[in-house]
Each structure stands twice: as structure tokens, then as C-alpha cells.
Amino acid sequence: MTALAAIDPAPATRLTLSARYGLLGALLIAPTVLIFSAVIVYPLISAIYLSLFSIFTLTLEGSWVGLDNYATLLQGPTFWNALGNTLIWTIGTLTLQIVFGVAVALLLNNNIWFRSLARSLVLFPYFISTVVAVLVWRWLFNDLYGILNHLLVRSGLVDMPVNWLGEMPNAMASIIFVGTWKYFPFVVIAVLARLQTIPPQLYEAARVDGANAWARFWDVTLPQLKGVLIVIILLRTIWDFKEFDLIYLLTGGGPLNHTQTLPLVVYQQAFGLNQMGMAAAYSVMMMLVMLVFMSAYLYRTRRARSAGA
């Protein structure tokens, strides 16, 4: 037995243990890769390909136009108007989301009555369907029966009911406001989780050093939140930038395209104007814009982190 046991089977004909495990791992991720390729990678490449054609939505007949779509897009007012609106919307709602999110998180970080109930209630806007949110707010904004106008007129702040969604700058302000309401709980929860890991000794030390509440926030809390905020800002910017449902359902892009953002343009081109190729071109441009911003943001934060760290 010993002599036989000492002879090793030729390793070349069998896979090593680590190779066998590697194969199993690849097998487990195969369904994911398959689905990804089919519904994400292929359509993505498709979209770029389609943008080089002019396609009529209803018949799906198309003809090659090369980069014409992009040329038209960059010359026309639609793209630039939409880009501008998207930026205003994104920056507006992002700023408010962060400010309110941090503020409410700070508020909820104290030992208040029924704290976990408060936290859950604050999360509601984030989890309800955009459809529900839109219906609720349109009802609230209603000029005749809406409670908001009623309160404003009653309290004497305005003489006439406000047209929240049909006039500018109200429309942009309204979508920014509703967007903030819907999405700021995300910031609250994320920041709250981080706040709860800050050791209380830091605050006590600051107190002993004579810092007041504002100084404590600025010098202790904010630096601790920096990491989380960088990630939150990145995520929310991307998600707000590509938001379709909320704006489409609240204003449809109106009045007169003053709240028409890039995602809405894509939809309108494809299913309103029946120009699928053009719509694809818009969507590709939108992605490029996002890519530029994302890279710039990541570059800056990486530099700031290595410089300040």
C-alpha cells in the first residue's frame, strides 16, 4: 500500500482543486451573465446601433442616417432646453433632498417618543409608487378642491389659488418639491444609520472644549458624514437625473416644455413623434452626459479623499 500510495496520479489530466472551484463559481454566475447579456448588454448596444437609423415607430421601418440624428439633436433647441431643465431639476431636488435629509436625520437621532415609529413613517414617501405620489399631490395642488390652495387663500398669503403645475416657475418648483418629498427619506435613513455610529465621546470632548451646537455640527458631525454623503450624492444625482415617472405624470413636460427633461424627450420622440432612431440618439446623448458628470465627480472625490485623508 505504501508504495502505491506514494505514486501520484498524473495531475495534468485532472483539474486542480482551485480550478474546479473556479468552474463552479462561473457556473453559479452564468444565469446572471446570461440575463445581463440578453436584457442589458444587447439592448444597450442596440440602442447605439438604432441611433444611426431613422425609424418610424408604428411600422418599425427604418433607413440608415449615420450621425444625422446626432447632428440634428445638437443643433435643435429641444436637446439643450431639456438638458438645462434636467440640470435645474437635478440640482434643485438634490440640494433640497440633502439639506432636508440631513436635518431630519439629525432631528430623529435624538431620543424622541416612539422613535422607530417616526422613522418608519418618514420612510413612507420613498416606498409608495410614484403613481400614488403623483395622484396625491395633484389632488393637493388642485386649484378648486385642493387643500393647499385652500390653506394659502384662507391664511391670506395669496389672493387667488395658485396654479401649481400649469405655470412657470411654479411647475419646476412643484416637481422639485414633490421630488424632494418623495426621495429625501433615502438620505434620512442612510445618514441616520451613520449618525448612530458616531461615538458620543466626540461630542462630549467638543462640549468640554466649549463648542456650541452649530460648531459641534460643523466640526464633529459633518466630517463624520462626509464619506456617506459622497456616496449618497452620487447615487441620488444619478437617480434624479434619469427620473421619468414623476415628471411625466406631474406635468408631462409642460407647460410648453419648460419642465421637459431628457428622459421625457426620449419617450416623446419614440412614442409621441414616432421617431425611434432619434429617440435612441437622445438616450445615448443622455448617457454620455451622465458618464461625463459621473467621471468628473468620482475623479474629484478621489482626489479630495487622497489629499485630505
Binding site: L28, I29, L60, L108, D245, L249, L262, F271
Partner: protein, 278 residues
């Protein structure tokens, strides 16, 4: 925390709860409106609290509109998507976290990238794809489309959860005589279960709330889910039936209310694990 003085405590509590109530006021108003009798609804000036509570709008919704069909469709849709995504993502996350093979890191980066993809880019090719495959206007087409955003998200969350399970546990199982699949089933899966439930809830909610894909891919009441169905009810009727719409909104949010009441812990833990951490 240092015990604050009572007036300060009181102020904090009042402020906090004032904010919370202001935030959920719109939703409270939604419920209030849904139980107000029709006549009271269109009273000017509007009343705060209903004079009488009625469920007539709910009955009308269920009896006179396709609401139940939409509800059924949404249910089938959300459950199917969740099951599919959870199974694929659990195996995928396990693979990404506990195995090494060429290309693994690239895949992980790719997952992150697709997480941030705008659906608007994909609607056109997906629409064309569904038409050519003959799946246009079916719930199945929506399930396929929903995986585009549900799968990366679930992978991201599950990966985070699984990475939190100590490696030693799996090693111990392997030494104790388990195969890798055996170790997964006996040890990793039970440990990951809270995370899986959390991810399943998130996925369900995402699928339940989705609007754009439903708008683009489905046109018939047979397959329409709640989101597009309810909005359809809004624009096809002569006058906007706000009472019905508010009742519909409440009913649409039913799964959410159920989850919040009974399974809330899973939601907040999901936030912590994958919601923010890169």
C-alpha cells in the same frame, strides 16, 4: 447622550413629530379623501375631517373598474419578478463573494454600472425585442424588462449581505465533510436568509411600483398592472374621479402597508447593507 433638560426634550420631540406629521400629511389626506362621501369631496372650501365615513368609493372601484384585474396582474408580475431575481441573484452573489475566477472583478464592476443605467435608454430596444419575440403586451414581457433593474439591485444588496457572513463558517462546513453546494445550503443560506428576505421585499416593491416599462410594453387591460392601469383610469374618464383615484391609491399601497407593519425590520436592514455602501 447627555440627558437634556426637559424643555429642550419637549422642544425636540415636538419639532421632530411636527416634521414627521408634515411629511406624511399628504398620505393621511389621501386616506381621508378616500372615505369622504362624494358630495363632501367637492365642497368649497374643503373640509378637513370627513363628516361621514363611507366606503362607497372602494366598492365602486372593485365593482365598476378593472381595478381587480390590474391588482391581479401586478401581483403576478411582482411575485414572478421577485422569485426569478432572487434565485438568480442569490447564486450570483454567492459566486461573486466566495469564488474566484477570471473576470470576476470585471463582472462586479459591471453590476455596479448597470445599477446606474437609465431605463429610458433600454425601453426602445426592449420594446423592439419584445415585439420580435412575440411577447408584446404580456406580463411575461414585463417580468423580463423588470429584471434589467431588479437584478443588478438585488445582486448589489445580496453581495453586501453575503460578504458579511464570516468565511470561517463555510470553511468549517467544508472541513466537516460538506461539498461547496452542501456548505451553501446548510450554512450560508440560513445565515443569508434575513438578507434574502430583505432583498425580496425591496425587489417586490420595485416591481410593484414600476411605471415606465409598463407604459411602453403593455397596452391592453388584460395585462396591465396597477401603475399604468390606475393612471389610465384617470385620463380616459370624462371628469377626473378623484374619490375613486384616492381609493385606488390607498388600495395600491396595500402591500407596502402590510410590509411596513409586519416586516419593517427587513427594510431598514436592507438600506444599511446595500443602500448606501459602495
Amino acid at each position: 447622550m447627555k440627558p437634556a433638560s426637559f424643555p429642550r426634550q419637549l422642544l425636540l420631540n415636538v419639532a421632530a413629530w411636527a416634521v414627521v406629521l408634515a411629511v406624511i400629511f399628504p398620505l393621511v389626506w389621501m386616506v381621508v379623501t378616500s372615505v369622504k362621501p362624494q358630495a363632501e369631496l367637492f365642497r368649497i372650501p374643503p373640509s378637513f375631517l370627513p363628516d361621514a365615513i363611507t366606503f362607497e368609493h372602494y366598492w365602486r372601484l372593485l365593482a365598476e373598474t378593472p381595478f381587480l384585474t390590474y391588482f391581479r396582474n401586478s401581483l403576478v408580475l411582482a411575485v414572478s419578478t421577485t422569485v426569478l431575481v432572487i434565485v438568480v441573484a442569490t447564486l450570483g452573489a454567492y459566486s461573486l463573494v466566495r469564488f474566484s475566477y477570471p473576470g470576476r472583478e470585471t463582472l462586479a464592476q459591471l453590476v455596479l454600472f448597470t445599477y446606474l443605467l437609465p431605463s429610458v435608454v433600454l425601453i426602445i430596444p426592449l420594446y423592439l425585442m419584445m415585439v420580435s419575440v412575440g411577447l408584446a403586451n404580456t406580463i411575461a414581457s414585463l417580468v423580463v424588462a423588470y429584471t434589467t433593474f431588479a437584478l443588478p439591485y438585488a445582486l448589489w444588496l445580496l453581495r453586501s449581505f453575503m460578504a458579511g457572513i464570516p468565511e470561517d463558517l463555510e470553511s468549517a462546513a467544508l472541513v466537516d465533510g460538506a461539498s461547496r453546494i452542501g456548505a451553501f445550503w446548510d450554512v450560508i443560506f440560513p445565515q443569508a436568509l434575513p438578507g434574502i428576505i430583505s432583498t425580496a421585499l425591496f425587489t417586490f416593491i420595485l416591481a410593484w411600483n414600476e411605471y415606465l416599462y409598463a407604459l411602453v410594453l403593455v397596452n391592453s387591460d388584460q395585462a396591465r398592472p396597477l401603475t399604468t392601469g390606475v393612471m389610465n383610469m384617470l385620463i380616459t374618464s370624462f371628469n377626473i374621479e378623484w374619490s375613486l383615484l384616492m381609493a385606488a391609491s390607498v388600495m395600491m399601497s396595500l402591500p407596502l402597508i402590510v410590509i411596513f407593519t409586519f416586516l419593517q425590520g427587513y427594510l431598514t436592514s436592507g438600506f444599511g447593507a446595500g443602500g448606501v455602501k459602495g
